[in-house]
């Protein structure tokens, strides 16, 4: 399942943060590691600075809502540009109070990505320099990508069921 490069990354991670690793798996040829949320920043910094991993580029960061588990996941995708390898890290937060530490101290580019994740999922990134909505209107009161909020605009009156034969 894991190729030698993956084994190497996992070994480097386990060497220092054995207690943080919850799950290692491979999805669609993509090494995915689920971690505890408390030391996530430290772990990412370690993967960035360690000679054997060199994940020095943050490709993306986003939220994922799992309503059946009552959890909101935050996914970090890192890129090692020396040997073109990628890794995906996941942490799970309770959906009632999704709070995660900010990654802006390690990757400045995380700033807008965390704002986006806050905007759509309501994840609060502690220590973020400017955590406010980025894409949606400022007056919005909901976090629209959470499953409990319907996708459709709720102010339309012309979409009555009878018009659609329902």
């Amino acid at each position: 399942m894991f190729d030698p490069a993956d084994e190497n990354v996992i070994a480097i991670l386990r060497e220092k943060y054995e207690d943080q690793v919850l799950l290692t798996e491979k999805h669609y040829d993509f090494l995915t590691i689920t971690l505890k949320e408390d030391k996530i920043i430290e772990v990412i910094q370690h993967l960035r600075d360690h000679e054997g991993t060199k994940f020095q580029f943050l490709t993306t960061l986003c939220g994922i809502h799992h309503p059946e588990q009552g959890q909101i996941a935050v996914m970090y995708q890192l890129h090692n540009m020396y040997n073109n390898s990628r890794i995906r890290l996941k942490i799970y937060l309770p959906q009632e109070k999704p709070v995660a530490p900010t990654l802006t101290g390690v990757f400045a580019g995380a700033n807008w990505m965390e704002r986006e994740t806050y905007d759509f999922f309501g994840v609060v990134f502690e220590g973020h320099p400017d955590l406010r909505r980025i894409l949606n209107v400022d007056e919005m009161t909901i976090f629209p990508m959470r499953k409990e909020y319907p996708l459709e605009d709720q102010t339309r009156e012309d979409k009555r069921d009878e018009m659609f034969g329902r």
């Binding site: 894409l135 949606n136 209107v137 919005m140 909901i142 629209p144 909020y149 996708l151 459709e152 605009d153 709720q154 102010t155 339309r156 012309d158 979409k159």
Partner: protein, 184 residues
């Protein structure tokens, strides 16, 4: 063979009294005729309907035939606001400000399903029709409408411009309508 000169048609003159060396009609009709054939549109194009508009302005369809070849990219000089494309809720205040900056008399043409009703984008982030924030004179349906349809919409606007009373913009009904949108 028919003479070439006979194929040139001249615009109809408004009803009036004609005699040797003079023609009398009401000022309103003259102003309406002048305005109708020199509408300066402001294209507010945000997506695919804007592409259709480019075709409308091109040589094949050529909106210049209707006196509207001079686009105004300053709202202060424009007569007609052509909204073509999806308007996100975040864009709403911008569109409204553009409308407020236009001088009276002003007209609004809503081109395409998105501008008219939100179209297929029935979602939290998209304005469900621009008539929620600004008054609209003519709606052009289609997703996107063909250039012929856009021209038809412009001709409908021309009709409104031509027949509009010079005092309409001072009327209490018009002011009440603007007030409904929170524009004074």
């Amino acid at each position: 063979m028919e003479a070439v000169g006979n194929k040139i048609s001249v615009g109809e003159k408004p009803p009036g009294v004609e005699g040797t060396g003079f023609f009398a009609t009401s000022l309103e009709k003259v102003v309406g005729m002048a305005r109708k054939n020199s509408i300066w549109p402001l294209p507010f194009a945000t997506s695919c309907c804007g592409i259709e508009f480019m075709a409308t302005m091109g040589a094949h369809y050529d909106l210049a035939r209707f006196g509207s070849e001079r686009l105004s990219f300053s709202p202060r000089q424009a007569d007609l606001l052509m909204v073509m494309g999806t308007i996100a809720k975040k864009m709403g205040p911008v569109l409204r400000q553009v409308y407020e900056q236009m001088a009276e008399p002003r007209w609004v043409l809503s081109v395409g399903a998105c501008a008219s009703s939100g179209g297929i984008f029935d979602t939290y982030s998209v304005l469900q029709g621009i008539d929620r924030i600004i008054p609209v004179d003519v709606y052009v349906p289609g997703c996107p409408p063909r250039p012929e349809q856009i021209i038809d919409g412009v001709m409908k606007i021309q009709q409104l411009v031509e027949t509009e009373s010079l005092r309409r913009r001072d009327s209490p009904e018009y002011k009440a309508m603007l007030n409904k949108y929170g524009i004074q």
